[in-house]
Every structure is written in C-alpha cells, then in structure tokens.
Symmetry: C2
Subunit: 563 residues, 2 copies
C-alpha cells in the first residue's frame, strides 16, 4: 500500500478518519486505564444528527445573492452541513461537539467553484459584514475554524472542496499547480498518474487538503526528505476582498521580501489561498524503513542531530522516548505489550535503488557509531503501515473517559532537552494537581540542521470538566515553552488556541505588522476574525487615522471609537 | 588561499576592491575594443578628493544630539565621509561619481555602536524628519543607497561598521549570531577560528557585510551547497523607529507567517537589521573544483538541471555560455585568448574527503552521461582563484570608454531558454539601435530544483551619455523579463533601479501590503524612502483614516492631504 492508495475520507463530525479503520480498545488497555482512575463518562456523546441549531443569522437577500452567484445547491444552511463545518479536530473541539455545543456552527456553508467566485463571495460578504471561515480539509487542531462572531452579521464557512483540480504540471521544472480544495490523498493519486509525488504526508493526510497545508504551514512525516510544505511552494494565488494577489515569478529571488512566506501560515486571515504551485518529485522507486534502538532519548537525539548536520539524511527520521516506545501507538493491537525497551528511532529511505542503498549505508554506519542497535525493517515497516492509525485511538479513549491530546513545539538543538523537561514537568504537575496524573509521551518527528521538533501526547483520566482541565494543562505547557524561548507550535498552527502566546512569542511590533497587512488586504476584517491575531478593537480605522490598537510600548490602547 | 585569508577592503569611491588587485587591460584587449568603436572619453574621471559638497542640510541642534548620543567622532560631516557613502557600485553610480555628481551624498554619516543606539538614532531622526540610509558594505548595484530626499529635512547614512562582533556561537545547534556591520571576510575569519564557516561568497565578498547580505537577500557563489543567505538565517534583530522586532524562536515553525522572510529583502525600508543568527557549518576538509565542457548552452543547462533535480549536487555549479566561455572573465591575462570552445561548466565539491569523493563520482557520471567532457581541475581551480577578479576589470574598461554592466534574473527551467533569448535580444537590439552593438555574455550561477538564475554581462562602446544609454538597455531587458514572467532580480535586489518593474511583478496588492508593514514599523517613512516601493504620497495618514495611496483597482489616487 502506498499513500496514493488511501481513500479520500469524509470525516464523521467527531470521529476520526475512515470508518473502516475505526478501532476499539483491547481489554488489557481498559484494565490499565482503570488503574489510572479513568471512569466511563455518565453520558455518552450526543448523536450529531440530533443536534438542533439556531436559525441561520443571514438575511434572505444575502443568501439569494450568494445562491445566484454560486449556482444551485452551492449554499447550504441545513443542520448536517453546518454541524459538519463546526470547529476542527482538537480534543476540546470533539468534547464540545460530543456535549452538544454547536455555538460555533456557521450560519451557512458556501461551495465556490472558481477563484473568481471566491473573490466575488468575499466582496459580497464584506459588503454584508459577514465573517468568512476558509475551509478545506477542516482538520485544524488549534481552533482555526472557530473565529470570533462578535461584531459580524453572521459567519459562513467557505468550503473549497469543488476547487479540486490539478491545474498544470510542468515536468521540466518539476512543478504542479494544485487547487486548494484538492485533498492530499487525491493530489497524490493524480500526480502518481504522471509518475510524480508531492511527498507530503502529515498525520491528517486522510482528511487534509492542499489549501490547509499552505495556510497552516504544514509539515509532513517525510519532511527530512521532501521538506516542509512551505519549502515546496513556489507560487500561490490568494483571493482577498480587494482582489487577487498572485505570487511566485521564480523559485527564489531577491525581488523584495518573500511574500509567499507571509501568506503561508496566515491561516485564512489575509485571504483565501485558491491554488498553489508546488515542487514535485518522481515517485520513489524504492522505500526502506528501519527501526533502531537507543538506550536513551539523549543518545537517540544526538544521533539524529549528527545525521541532519553531517548526513546522509534519511527521508523520514524520528525518535520516540522511552514511554512512547513502550506503548507503541503505531500498533494498537500491541499496546502496552512491551517491546525492545529503550527508545525506538525510525529511519526511512526513499528514492532510486542506488540512492537508497548509498544513503542507508552511510546513515546506518553513523547510527551504529552513535550507539544505535539495528532492529531491522520490521519495526520500520510497522510504523509506515500504522502511521495514520494513532489518531483513531482517540475516539474510543474519549468514550472510555480518557482525556487525550497532543501538542508540539520546536527549538534549537542546544535547548531541546531543557524544552522536553520543562513541558513534561508542566503537564505532569498541572494535571497531577487536579488529581489526574498523566502519561506524557514524546517524540522527535522533524529535524533541521539547527534544531528539532518535539511532539507530546498526553493522557489522563477526565475530570468533570475536561475542556477546562486540558486548558489549564495546555497553558502551563505554553508557559514552559515561552520560558525556554521555543516556538509555540511546530506544525499545528496558531488558530485561536495559540493566539495569545503567539503574540508574546513574536512581540507587539510583529502583531502590528500582521494587523497592518490584514488591513491592507481585508479592510473590513471579515476573514477568520480572531484567528492568528486578535481582531482590531474596531474594524475600521479611527478618526485620527491610527488604528488605535497598540501603543508603541505594546500595550493595548483604548480605541477612540467602536466601528 | 581560502576566503578567510582575503583582506577586508575599504573601497575607493569609484574603483572596485583591493588596490593590490587593480588591473589594467592587455594590449590585445585594447585592439579588440577599438574594433568595437570604443573611444577613450575626453575627460578623465574627477578625483573624488577634489569634489565640493554643499553644506550639510542638518541643523546644528540635531547634529549635537546625535553626537551626544553616539559619542566623540561618531558623526561625520566631512566631504570624504559623505562622498564615500554616496550611492553604490552599479555602473551608473560609478559614472555619476566619475563625472562629479554628488547630488545623492548624505548630509552626515553616523556610526552607532550598539543596537540600542540604532533605535535611539531612528527615534531622533523620525522626530527631526530626517531620512536614514542603513549602510553596511555599501555594495548595492541597484540604487539601494540613493533614497528619495524630497520631503525630508536631510539624509543621513547609518554606517554599521562598529557593529562588527560575533555575539554568540552555538556549536551544538550550529548557529552563530553576527552583527550587521561585520564584513563577510571578517566573519569567515572569526568563524574559522572555531572550525566553522558560513559558506556565503557573493561576488562582492571583499566589500559586503552581514547586514547587507540579509537586507538584500544575497546569494553566494556556493549557493548550491550552502544555500542562499535567506536560507541560512534562523533569527534576526531589527531596529525600527517604534522599537525592536526580534524574530527566530526556532529553525522553522507553524507559528504564523515566517516574518523573517518579510524582513529579509526589505532593503532597509522596514528597519535596520542589527544582527542575524545564521546556520553555520564545519570548514570543509576538502575542496575540488573541476571544469566540464558542453557543446552548447542548452546541453549544459540540461545537465545542471539533472544534477539539481536528481543529485548528487555539487557545492558550486555554474555554466557559461559560448561567448562568456571564450572571453574567460576569471583570467584577465587570458582574455580573448581562446580556449576549449563550447560552454564551460564549473562543478565544485566541498566537504569531508569521503563526501567529496562520493558526490564527485556521482555527479561526474551524470555530467558525462549528459554529454559533458571533463576538463580536469585546472579550469575549476582557475575559476576558484579568479572568482573575485572579474569586477576589477570594470574600472579600466570604463577608463577606456567601454560601457560595461551586469544584470540578472531567475525563472523556472521550462522558461530558461526563452528568457535568455528575450533578454539577449532586448539588450542587443536596444544598444545596436544606438550605434553601439554590444557583446552579451550569460551564465547560470544558481540552480534550484524548479529553476535557475541567468546572469548577463553587457559591454559596448559608451555614447556621450552612457547613463541614459544604459537605462534604455536596462529598461528593454526589464520588459523582456516581464514578458517571460520571470523575476526582475535573482540576487542584486530591488533598490530604486528596479522599483517600478518590481511593483508590476508583484502587483498592487503586494505593494499595498509592504507599504502597510512599513507604516506599522516606520510611520514617518524615514527609512530608505523610495527604495523597494514608492513612498506614500504623504508620510502621515490622511484625515479619513486611509493612506490615500492606492485605490482598490490598484491605480494611484490623489491623496486627500499632503503631510
């Protein structure tokens, strides 16, 4: 099986992925959970089909205009469509929906069929003061689909699923122009027909789309070999309420700042990315994935650092800590079943047979010299085949009363262990203080010459208010990240969940700069309000010509007027 | 000799580089020039020491405040300092200074000694409505040091030469924090003491500085192996009139847009970069540079494309066309002396002995399979040793009455030959129409998986107005670049020379976005006014709260008031 053989999945509103892959917990796991004090919740999750929504807050004239613009059946106000576009895939998002909280549901879901229709929708919504949530895969885990409703006449989700074409393939330049609503799985399938691959395989691969990869600055599991998504993008088209911004006249240039890198990661707040031109590569002739065992996380991390700094670098490179290694998330059937102990590293090689052989030989020599013990291809192939299965565990765990969530960060190598210790302590201490001591697992999944990401999985018994319980743990983790000076997210994004800590990370001048760009492209502030940066206190500028939002010392000023 | 053995050079106001390396033309070259209709100019260039400048336009109170802030001797208003900071190193810049035109001279030169002093200077200058030109190496070839004076009480050059420290080296993370005024040569020397290198060797290496590399998005000759400067930067500190913007909490992240890439390439218009944290690498144990001959530019370009797309990739990879190959700019003594014919490619390998051997073997096999004939290390070493010598030829050629200048661009592989043909035709036709048919040389010096740069050298007889002569040729080349859809500059930057064509390349929304960021960080618009983007018609915002510069259809609107 390769990535392009996976089905494109329409997710259940609160159950992850392909129904055929949904899983239950083994009896052994349930016994372990009981030992952790986990109790099955008193109320099972509500059926989303039975949820009652308020009437859409949009006036009939606007709905008729939108229907006239987009054509029959492309404006949905039924409950199923609205519930299906409510929030994303963080554990708090799922818990809220399980409890019947649909307060963030959009008033309508729009399905534009072209870039020009997106521009026209934005102009209409700006005129009607309606907030617009760009929606492609809908897999945000940071509150990126729950914008601020206050101050707007309504909220619409702009679902890009009809923008699902491969617009162009340039085999000589090895680029492909892909529309934003194209699902990752489908993009791989279409590219594979030309012998090409994007090589971008995030954990959300079964559900995510090209536009989301770009807007949220995604990083796939094979980032060591294929690069991050922001490194693949050489061009993009952005629809804004003021028209079109098209960027990418060359792979790289000195023609001013790289504005592509301003749009990538803007999370739908500056405009709607409707297509991207990405670097593609030939489908690899060979793939070999292997496991290596290290005695400690420190020894494994040192080996990964050596590989990325001195090479040769595998296509996939990751390292689980002792706890994650013992639990083996990639193989639910074997959960808690033990294993080789120590820390499991996965090194995967993709390319031509000669290239794979050469890189594998060089990297294996280095890994062995760094204290790694080769475990052969079995754990590597098990990881590769199980790589999309871990998220399926969350639903049955939530059913059983487990609070389970992930968070991730990234720093320079010299701060990596301090960061891991600080975040682990923050999570453990906060949740233990609530009477729910957690299990904290950690792995490195993305490496750079100068640093690496850390990905944490946290599990404990739910209290009576698991959303608040997690928020306290997450806040403590964010503080720990700030203390070390690391980035608050490596690939999940900012959304609304990270907005305040992100503002502290980049500082008030950076927020002012972003707000200024937003004002230039989206003067009424209708695009994803409250995502990434706090909305300006008033949408329009104040009478003295300043925006009235931030003083030179970075503190919030009282706006001169409310727009 | 390695790069860190080169001297740090203080350039003559209009003669390039180290006086010890200044060169004269061989007799054979002079004969060839005569055949091209070149006549020695009637008036030799004026001695810069004799140029008379107007009195500085700054009031005594401001000068006293600046002197109080920066300390004794750190505010210069003498003619030598002002002439020495007048414009940069384009041929028009040199021709103007040779003719005694010092109209772009700053009123004063300031030498701040710390980041905090830079912030304080910007605050003082904002208050006094004085334009500030950030200056590090002073090697701009695109008018980046000739900002618009209109609307300001005066212009000061902010020379960062005292900010010349290595602030930190993190050997585990392989990063170094370098101040902006540190010269490239000196940075290499200091890093080499730790066994490290930046690997950034642009043509301007003898004169350029770290801050300029960052502000102008520089690319060095070894970019295939070490990356572009914008790829090396993991952190930076920017001084603005509103305070400090510090970026770079991690190598890469999903914490919003990559704002480092908004500052890189901003050419001093958003703030003054006072330090950068860059990825460094070990000094290579081995270097091998080789020459390869291709029958045609097309065959050579195909081979380079194959190397960068399928690897292994050399550290340095370049290809001269037939004309450049025959002239051999790297070895002035052999100019016009013939050679192997065809097109010369240089492939350089740096790294450990094993790595160099492996990459060289793989790349050589591929080059040979692509039709390349190996020429051995002699042409490669000749290029490596002569790589900084070509610019020294310009001064004696200008002395003799030759108009000589370069320009560069970058596009995707599938457009490369169309771009080369279009630019060559534009230059040839325009200059031939003036009665001065040119010699046009071209090379590829930077390769990417999806495209490559093209670098042109143009030489012809000067007319009576060589500045206007060149401007017409350059405009025609820019139009050709726009027609193909390529970028107007690969590594020279935008400055004032490319500003209008850059605005057409990125479009009015991009210009609005940049102008909005500038307004957020530099509300009075004192930083390099007119560089990169046209200044807003009025520095302040208008009474209706809009900036009054651009309407939604991208046309210029009449400002409501002049600030």
């Amino acid at each position: 099986m390769t990535e392009s053989d996976l089905p494109v999945v329409d997710f259940h509103p609160y159950r992850w992925g392909d129904p055929a892959h949904r899983t239950t917990l083994p009896a052994a796991a349930k016994e372990t959970l009981a030992a952790f004090g986990v109790r099955t919740p008193e109320h099972p999750p509500l059926d989303p089909a039975g949820l009652v929504l308020p009437e859409p807050a949009l006036d009939a004239k606007l709905l008729a205009e939108l229907a006239g613009l987009l054509g029959p059946g492309q404006v949905a106000t039924d409950a199923a469509a609205r519930v299906g576009h409510t929030r994303g895939w963080s554990t708090p998002d799922l818990l809220k929906l399980r409890a019947g909280d649909v307060s963030d549901a959009p008033d309508a879901v729009l399905y534009p069929g072209s870039h020009e229709q997106v521009v026209a929708v934005l102009e209409l919504c700006e005129h009607a003061n309606v907030a617009v949530v760009p929606y492609s895969g809908g897999t945000s885990v940071v509150g990126g689909l729950a914008p601020q409703r206050a101050g707007f006449a309504g909220v619409v989700a702009l679902d890009l699923k009809r923008l699902d074409a491969v617009l162009a393939v340039d085999e000589e330049s090895r680029t492909a122009t892909l529309q934003a609503g194209l699902r990752g799985v489908e993009a791989e399938r279409l590219l594979r027909e030309r012998g090409l691959t994007l090589g971008h395989f995030p954990q959300s691969y079964e559900g995510a789309s090209i536009g989301g990869y770009a807007a949220a600055r995604s990083a796939g599991q094979a980032s060591a070999g294929y690069g991050r998504f922001d490194e693949m993008v050489v061009g993009l088209e952005l629809a804004t309420p003021r028209g079109t911004l098209a960027l990418g006249s060359a792979p790289k240039s000195a023609a001013g700042p790289d504005l592509r890198q301003l749009v990538l990661g803007s999370e739908g707040t500056l405009g709607v990315i409707t297509s991207v031109t990405v670097r593609v590569r030939p489908v690899p002739a060979e793939r070999v994935y292997e496991g290596w065992r290290f005695d400690s996380f420190e020894a494994g991390a040192a080996a990964l650092r050596k590989l990325v700094q001195d090479g040769p670098l595998p296509t996939v490179l990751r390292l689980s800590d002792e706890a994650e290694t013992s639990i083996n998330l990639a193989d639910p059937a074997a959960m808690f079943g033990g294993g080789p102990g120590g820390c499991l590293a996965i090194a995967g090689y993709e390319g031509s047979a000669a290239e794979v052989a050469a890189r594998r030989a060089g990297a294996s020599e280095l890994l062995a010299a760094a204290g790694g013990q080769p475990l052969g291809t079995e754990p590597g192939e098990a990881w590769r085949h199980g790589r999309y299965r871990a998220p399926y565990l969350r639903d049955p765990l939530l059913d059983e009363g487990v609070l389970i969530e992930t968070l991730e960060t990234v720093t320079f190598w010299s701060s990596l262990h301090a960061l891991r210790a600080a975040v682990t302590s923050a999570l453990s201490e906060t949740l233990s203080a609530e009477g729910t001591p957690p299990l904290v697992l950690c792995h490195i999944s993305h490496v750079y010459e100068t640093g690496a990401s850390l990905y944490f999985t946290v599990a404990c018994a739910q209290t009576d208010d698991p959303v608040a319980q997690w928020q306290r743990a997450k806040s403590a983790a964010n503080e720990a990240i700030r203390q070390v000076g690391a980035a608050v997210t490596h690939h999940h994004g900012v959304g609304t969940d990270h907005r305040e800590v992100y503002a502290r990370e980049v500082g008030p001048l950076a927020v002012d700069a972003l707000r200024a760009v937003k004002r230039a492209l989206d003067p009424a502030g209708i695009l994803n309000p409250g995502v990434l940066i706090a909305p300006a206190p008033n949408n329009a500028t104040t009478t003295d010509g300043t925006d009235g939002t931030t003083t030179t010392d970075g503190t919030d000023a009282t706006p001169a007027s409310e727009g």
